[in-house]
């Protein structure tokens, strides 16, 4: 079974600064997907960024980028130029690439609460 670990329950960053959230995972599979989801107080999970394990290039979406280290099973999220609206819970999630559709369950970590201060 796959597991996802987020060892930072809370992080704080000043507005306009950069912060990195950590995530490690354990799997015996070679092909999979990794995601970072944001959950603001409104509770709705919002996809931030996605990484395919077969891709060596790290994914980037505007101010959000990842550092994917497949051998180390590490998947960190870097938020640049932090904004007040970035304050939320951030969840790292794993999805197997085995099969289609029916293998698409997400396995989540316990989350990191990010505070953004002025």
């Amino acid at each position: 079974a796959q597991t996802v670990t987020q060892s930072q329950p809370e992080m704080s960053v000043q507005e306009a600064e950069t912060v990195t959230l950590s995530c490690t995972y354990d799997t015996s599979e070679s092909d999979y997907y990794l995601f970072w989801y944001k959950q603001p107080p409104s509770r709705q999970m919002i996809l931030v960024i996605r990484q395919e394990a077969y891709k060596q290039q790290n994914a980037t979406e505007n101010r959000f980028s990842v550092n994917f280290q497949k051998a180390a099973k590490s998947f960190s999220l870097k938020i640049s130029d932090s904004q007040l609206g970035d304050a939320a819970m951030y969840f790292c999630a794993y999805r197997s690439a085995r099969g289609t559709g029916t293998a698409s369950k997400l396995t989540f970590g316990t989350g990191t609460r990010l505070q953004v201060t002025l």
């Binding site: 989801y37 509770r43 698409s104």
Partner: protein, 113 residues
């Protein structure tokens, strides 16, 4: 384009009662997954429905059951509620064919007293 919708927003039930939660997937999506998110935890996969059948199930007891309708909407039923069932229940929809991403609804907050 409407996203994933869930109803009700909040619900309070008594231990031993039964509850039904509802989910309408995003337009064009045919697969619905349900997750339970306890306070301070990450979401835990309950089960997934496609073509009106349960396709995959997480480690949840049989008290948790579901249904998917021809229009792809779905229900989650929980029988014999326990205090430990208090949680945020999230519905996520996706497309079976090529659907890498799951889109989540706002959730239903269930409180069992």
């Amino acid at each position: 384009d409407a996203g994933v919708t869930q109803s009700p927003t909040h619900l309070i039930k008594t231990r031993g009662q039964q509850v039904t939660l509802r989910c309408s997937p995003k337009s064009g999506h045919d697969t619905v997954s349900w997750y339970q998110q306890a306070l301070g935890q990450g979401p835990q996969f309950i089960f997934q429905y496609y073509e009106e059948e349960e396709r995959q199930r997480g480690n949840f007891p049989d008290r948790f059951s579901g249904h998917q309708f021809p229009n792809y909407s779905s229900e989650l039923n929980v029988n014999a509620l326990l205090l430990g069932d208090s949680a945020l229940y999230l519905c996520a929809s996706s497309r079976l064919a090529g659907g890498l991403e799951q889109y989540f609804g706002p959730g239903t907050r269930l409180t069992v007293t």
